[in-house]
Symmetry: D3
Amino acid sequence: MFRLTVRDHIMIAHSFRGEVFGPAQRLHGATFVVDLELARGALDANGIVADIGLVSELLKAVLAPLNYRNLDELEEFRGQNTTTEVLARAIAQRVRARILEGALGEEAKGGVAAVKVTLGESHIARASYETVLQG
Amino acid sequence: MFRLTVRDHIMIAHSFRGEVFGPAQRLHGATFVVDLELARGALDANGIVADIGLVSELLKAVLAPLNYRNLDELEEFRGQNTTTEVLARAIAQRVRARILEGALGEEAKGGVAAVKVTLGESHIARASYETVLQG
Amino acid sequence: MFRLTVRDHIMIAHSFRGEVFGPAQRLHGATFVVDLELARGALDANGIVADIGLVSELLKAVLAPLNYRNLDELEEFRGQNTTTEVLARAIAQRVRARILEGALGEEAKGGVAAVKVTLGESHIARASYETVLQG
Amino acid sequence: MFRLTVRDHIMIAHSFRGEVFGPAQRLHGATFVVDLELARGALDANGIVADIGLVSELLKAVLAPLNYRNLDELEEFRGQNTTTEVLARAIAQRVRARILEGALGEEAKGGVAAVKVTLGESHIARASYETVLQG
Amino acid sequence: MFRLTVRDHIMIAHSFRGEVFGPAQRLHGATFVVDLELARGALDANGIVADIGLVSELLKAVLAPLNYRNLDELEEFRGQNTTTEVLARAIAQRVRARILEGALGEEAKGGVAAVKVTLGESHIARASYETVLQG
Amino acid sequence: MFRLTVRDHIMIAHSFRGEVFGPAQRLHGATFVVDLELARGALDANGIVADIGLVSELLKAVLAPLNYRNLDELEEFRGQNTTTEVLARAIAQRVRARILEGALGEEAKGGVAAVKVTLGESHIARASYETVLQG
């Protein structure tokens, strides 16, 4: 199995509901260093998992609606905590959807086997979500 | 699959038996930067893999009997080399046992699917052990 | 010259005023990985720059009023942008004041020559502020 | 499952064919930070995945023919792009072959279950290839 | 003193002349992770060392003529080895010149006190060059 | 000013005397990731601070008597705590002495202006010592 990983980041504000979150129930924020990993069983004709330029643009496009935002105000997260885990899933699912729409080219639609998104929230904590692709 | 990872560290002394270890047969020591990764298929009601505060406490509690110790003197490792691999397994198994005892709450007992412990021993070497949970 | 550095982090929300900040004028947030560096010309009687346990506690105490906060609401930053640079200075000045009050012990008051605080805001940007100590 | 990882690096020149590579079609170069990960289900009699000294030597030996080279001139890569993915596979396959030849000892031939090679090409991109061993 | 640091990278090919360089006399290459650090004694009216967006653009513009190039073919380095040290100086001097031309705004011309460029060539080696600014 | 930095590591056991050290009074150990930084005002004829191969060998030679040792048993540290700060100084002073003896060549004796040694003891703590060279 081959894997390609590219890195970007977002800076967001949010708050959590639930006693388990302690002081993080207050409005605070985070930098998330985002690693997007694509897996595929065989390389394409150019000898790559995907065009790294397109992958970087795809990641940036998916992150843009979240970046420099107060996530508490976004409609799509209404009623749920935007935890690191929830955000990793949301980003991974959007990347997956865009790949299936052809954002990485026709060939990649069937070639990419899985998408994993890891969000580093500090030097001591991170969370990830991995999902498979099915055309 | 979701994964949550938290980091801590221990500083220990030990020595190894076996020619394969060369100069590490002498009493020496190591800092192990410890990454504890929990995996689960679905998030809990709060949208998390587990309460990160409880996970950090759990890891600290499991590391405490090892930290600032000469592992050669610990009864539990008598007769075996406390290699990075052996320590990763010992820590992972203790974390697993505590989760099954309820250290991360009742819900997490059935929710956490796997535990992985990675020990970084330097900037150029690390070892890990992964185990599944079964109630 | 000797230097001792310890690391901690904070997670905050804030917004900036000024066109130069572009999208960061919106309410957003950041994780700041904080490195506190103390410099001194000679070690104390124990062979250290300072008690690393006390230094870690001091840093945590200085960071506590900022952590998990919306900095826009804090009286002390009213009328100024809480940029990475401004926060690095604020943290360094508070550390300096506490050292001069004896937080690291009487001996350290005269021993510590300089305080430097570096705030990593992402994997590609950081800022720092350094100040000297004068009793 | 146990995993052991050791790190080394190579510095190479190369160029790519294909419009997808943009400016990387020109002769340029890269430092690849190479992580070699070995997996096995059970430890050997010494309590290790493999002799870390032998693993490091094995990795260095496999990297030697690539290091400080213009990969465009190497016969073995004629007709294919030496992308990060292709190099990760080439290195992993050579490591695998040497393990099966006994480079890590007789016991490791059957013990090592999988080989993964990750090449970090910058602070924002990396690629890996993983392969299983079958005696 | 305040310092602001931003990170980018280049991927280049080159060769060295001189026996001291051993195998690096052959055509090879490197990824250089480039940290650009600006120092100034006081912040500007916005509470920053400089507009981080402009600093990132400035760094990218200075790196562009080097990126994805065989440095042996560049006129400007004719007759000298493009060692990590030499490149760090070349990049720092160009950054300095552009700041003095106003690339970071009029105010920054007099405000920025020093420029430091660090090139990380691997996980175990880096070099830097620091220069002061005089209007 | 130019600076060149190379990295290596040691793994040692030791214990401390003094209540300030708490549990570190027990025999324990550490991995120290060692960064050796050499500074000089002008490059040599090859365009380098020093031959990086010689610098790496010099560092390894200086670290060898400490590596895989119980520092409590070494004559040279009798009566003092082998804190991170004390070890950084000891290593820096030995590097300095060897440079003055010609370990980096005759030219480097007068060229190298300063030596700085940084010891990373974990992901959250490090200490350094810097000394100037005088022929």
